[in-house]
């Protein structure tokens, strides 16, 4: 006799809890109910005779005994009490089928996945018919493909539909999951059968030992593979049109290999042009790197290919999406354009056009700079007004001051970041009347002389000409213009880094000044990707091929995670682990199933208790009927 679904301890705990609840409810039901009534005069007449009360107290314990016995029977039914030897009961097995990216490698005329599927089917057919089987697909994540199933066809269909994923095998997690799910099933644990090559991602040295009921069905593989592992790209700091490209390849095989890396670039839909090639010598089990440079300001797709191809093609090529290099178009309306040219020509991302005030057009794109000039119609784009006449200034002029020392910069405003110069005087300046929300970038004692108004369009107003005042001798002048251009169009000055790599976990070390609130990680469909940020290290996980964008203030990282994640080490099973397809004993006669009868008996016991002792329910029913009858009768009045 044994319990199929619960251990004896679990059963005893459950029965103890249920019994305690039953006894508590019983005592509560029999305890005095406190009630406020309109009067006691009728209750006195209804008091129970002493004889009847004594008889009921003798009978009530049987109600409790019957309740507890019924609960016991129902619990035994739930625990599936069985008569016979425990060996006759079926077991629950878990097949852990390796679905890592490496399983797509070819071995002879078929893939490793085909071989693993065939082995899993053989194991499934060897299991006794009374046993249940769960299929778990294991790559970086362990995913159950079926529940514990007695129907072999369902499990076979799940095995057949298993395909190689994009990530490397996380063997420890797969074993943990199988062990956990087996412990929760309630039936006798069978075997955990691992079917795969055993090539895993880097393992945690402190991971638990393999389960004792593990059976290993290894699929033989010949490792002659070399592939791309990492690709990094960034625009050169000196020349923004120049891409610096870094490619890393790895040789997984035991012999040295020679491979050719070739790059091409072009728009996604049209043909691509060759962008460079290099020959690499890959030592056995080692890495080799190559660097390229490619000049383009256009957006497009950069393809990286490694030849000759081998048994695993998926890591021989990768594609990265390169963003275009945007430029800020600045239109300057000035009679003295030479004053502003040095400040605007410093950045290669700015293309400036200089026009006379008479040639003014209100619809210029980008940024418009108005030098001591009030246009008939305000520009639709963002604008910088330099020393505008008081009549017509976009920000009202409060007063005009002369020969005043410059007082302070607003260090909290991004346009004034890093500005220190204060030891100069302004011969003549307009002090502005700011509104709430305006940025007071530079001030004299009388008030702000450089004001930035955010919104759409953004407006910056100088109360003096920086190139015609003492400020022109200060280092702050080009820095101030650079800050203003960055504040007006932050997307133009954003720094890009493009990386190609394998799917899975990605770790990125951010700049020191990156604020956590400025960090966003999005997939290519725009959905947010969960990430962690500890100190300066950002981690996220991508389980499927695709691109991920990491935006951190003025820097954007683009990850093209199209390469498959391959293994780092080969797992060697312990020597005492069972191997090969087993031969189980022929099926024994199934143990007798008693749970339906126990459930029926338990239910009948509760029903009997309700009928015999359920005075509360019967009385309530009777009283309700009488009440209905009474209220339905007409009241005798008017006699």
């Amino acid at each position: 006799m044994f319990l199929l679904n619960l251990s004896l301890l679990q059963f005893a705990t459950l029965f103890g809890a249920v019994s305690a609840i039953s006894v508590a409810l019983y005592l509560l039901d029999r305890s005095r109910r406190k009630q406020v009534v309109s009067t006691l005069r009728f209750w006195v007449a209804a008091e129970q005779p002493a004889v009847a009360a004594r008889r009921r107290r003798i009978q009530q314990p049987w109600s409790l005994v019957l309740q507890l016995a019924s609960m016991l029977l129902l619990l035994l039914a739930i625990a599936q009490l069985r008569f016979g030897a425990i060996e006759q009961a079926g077991r629950d097995h878990v097949i852990v089928l390796d679905s890592s990216a490496w399983m797509a490698a070819r071995s002879g005329n078929r893939t490793l996945m085909d071989a693993a599927r065939q082995t899993a089917r053989q194991y499934l057919r060897a299991l006794p018919a009374r046993d249940r089987v769960m299929l778990v697909r294991a790559d970086a994540l362990a995913t159950p493909a079926t529940a514990f199933e007695s129907d072999r066809n369902k499990v076979e269909a799940a095995i057949q539909s298993t395909q190689p994923g994009s990530t490397a095998l996380n063997l420890d997690q797969a074993f943990d999951f199988a062990r956990h799910i087996q412990a929760q099933s309630g039936r006798r644990a069978g075997e955990i059968a691992f079917v795969g090559t055993g090539r895993t991602a880097e393992r945690d040295p402190g991971a638990a030992a393999p389960p004792r009921n593990l059976r290993v069905l290894l699929v033989p593989d010949a490792v002659e593979n070399a592939g791309l592992r990492k690709i990094g790209m960034r625009r050169s700091a000196a020349d923004p049109d120049l891409w610096e490209i870094y490619v890393s390849a790895h040789n997984y095989g035991p012999r040295a290999r020679q491979a050719v890396l070739s790059l091409d670039f072009g728009p996604p839909s049209a043909g691509r042009m060759a962008a460079g090639s290099r020959t690499l010598v890959l030592p056995p089990g080692g890495d080799a790197e190559a660097s390229f440079e490619y000049r383009t300001a256009a957006a497009g797709i950069l393809g990286v290919r490694m030849t000759p191809h081998d048994a695993f093609n998926a890591d021989d090529q990768a594609e990265l999406e390169l963003p275009a290099q945007p430029r800020l178009s600045v239109t300057v309306y000035s009679n003295e354009p030479d004053l502003l040219k040095p400040a605007l020509s410093a950045s290669p991302r700015v293309s400036a056009a200089y026009r006379k005030p008479e040639e003014y057009r209100p619809n210029d794109p980008g940024l418009v700079i108005l030098d001591r000039f009030i246009p008939p119609q305000r520009p639709a784009a963002d604008s910088i007004w330099i020393d505008p006449p008081a009549l017509g200034s976009p920000i009202p002029v409060r007063q005009t001051v002369e020969q005043v020392p410059f007082a302070r910069w607003d260090a909290g405003h991004p346009a004034a970041a890093g500005l220190r110069a204060r030891d100069f005087k302004l011969d003549h300046a307009s002090v502005f009347e700011t509104a709430p929300g305006d940025g007071r970038i530079g001030e004299v004692d009388a008030g702000p002389v450089i004001v930035a108004r955010s919104g759409k369009p953004k407006i910056v107003v100088f109360g003096f000409h920086p190139a015609l005042s003492a400020l022109r001798y200060e280092l702050a002048t080009p820095l101030l213009f650079a800050n203003l251009l960055r504040w007006v169009s932050p997307e133009i000055f954003r720094r890009w880094e493009v990386a190609g790599g394998s799917v899975g976990a990605v770790r990125l070390v951010l700049d020191d000044d990156t604020a956590a609130k400025d960090v966003t990680v999005t997939a290519e469909d725009g959905s947010a990707v969960p990430f962690t940020l500890r100190d300066r290290t950002l981690d996220f996980f991508s389980g499927a091929p695709g691109s991920v964008r990491v935006l951190t203030g003025d820097r954007e990282y683009m990850y093209s995670l199209t390469l498959p994640q391959l293994w780092d080490t080969r797992w060697t099973p312990p020597a005492d682990v069972r191997r090969g397809i087993p031969r189980f004993a022929p099926s024994l006669a199934p143990a007798a199933d008693w749970w339906p009868w126990l459930a029926l008996l338990g239910g009948a016991g509760l029903l009997a208790e309700w009928l015999l002792f359920g005075r509360f329910r019967i009385a309530r029913f009777v009283s309700r009927r009488r009440l209905v009858r009474r209220t339905a009768e007409p009241v005798e009045v008017g006699r």
């Binding site: 009630q35 005069r41 209804a46 129970q48 009385a619 009777v622 009440l627 009045v637």
Partner: protein
Amino acid sequence: MTSTPLLDREFLEKLERLAIRWQKSFAGLVGGHNRSRFPGAGQEFLDHRHFHHGDDLRAVNWRAYLRLEKLFLKMFQVEPRVPVRMLLDVSASMTAHGGDKFDYARRLAASLCYVGLVRLDAIEVHGFSNRLGHRIFSNGGRHRFPTVMDGLSALQAGGATDYLAVVREFIGTYSQRGLVIIISDFMDDGNCERALQYLSDYGHELMLLQVWADEDRTPPWTGELELRDAETGAGLKLDFDDEARQRYTRAFDEYADAIQTMAHRSGGRYAGIATSMPLENVIFGDLIRMRGIA
């Protein structure tokens, strides 16, 4: 004051065709809609009598004089404005079992007030427990009904009932006889029948409306109970089962019958009303059958 009105407009419109009725004749002011056996300055002919010195010559039947050469005086029926007073039980027992009884009683009182207002009857409403409470005067037509309803809504329940004290105070306050409508559960520990009989013997016509909750008549509980009287706070512990419930209900019905018998014996009327019955059914069913309203 409660936020929701006691009665809705639709129900009030239905009440407008009703009128409060009384059976006795009382000497009172002219007016109203109930006929009196007393002669007086009414519109409808009652009888002739011989002319006496000082009688009003306008009432002499001159046709009879011409024919018989004797002076006969025409007498007319008086249509008196009988005082209608309503006593509404606001003792703590009305709030037992969730306060349904108290709300129901207030709605019933409001309905009768509206019927009286529509017929230009004057109704004085008193809450009472161990003495008469604040008076709500209901007269002057239906437009005065919101004031009455506010007064009823503002009533607070509490205290123990003392019918003898209340009746003594009532008789001391109102010497003029009239119709007395008592809305109560009549659940006191004293003998309320004697007090009601006293009121009737003094000359008032009684209309007793006994309101009870279902739990008052058939308690749904079973087992060992610890009871507390809502008015006196007295306690009682007992075992309660189906047999005890039958005895309880029997005692309750006997008590209700005793009150009903007392009311009928003294020429009054009685209606037992369970709060589970819709108020509209009570007004248009039981109260019309008992001829309390018509």
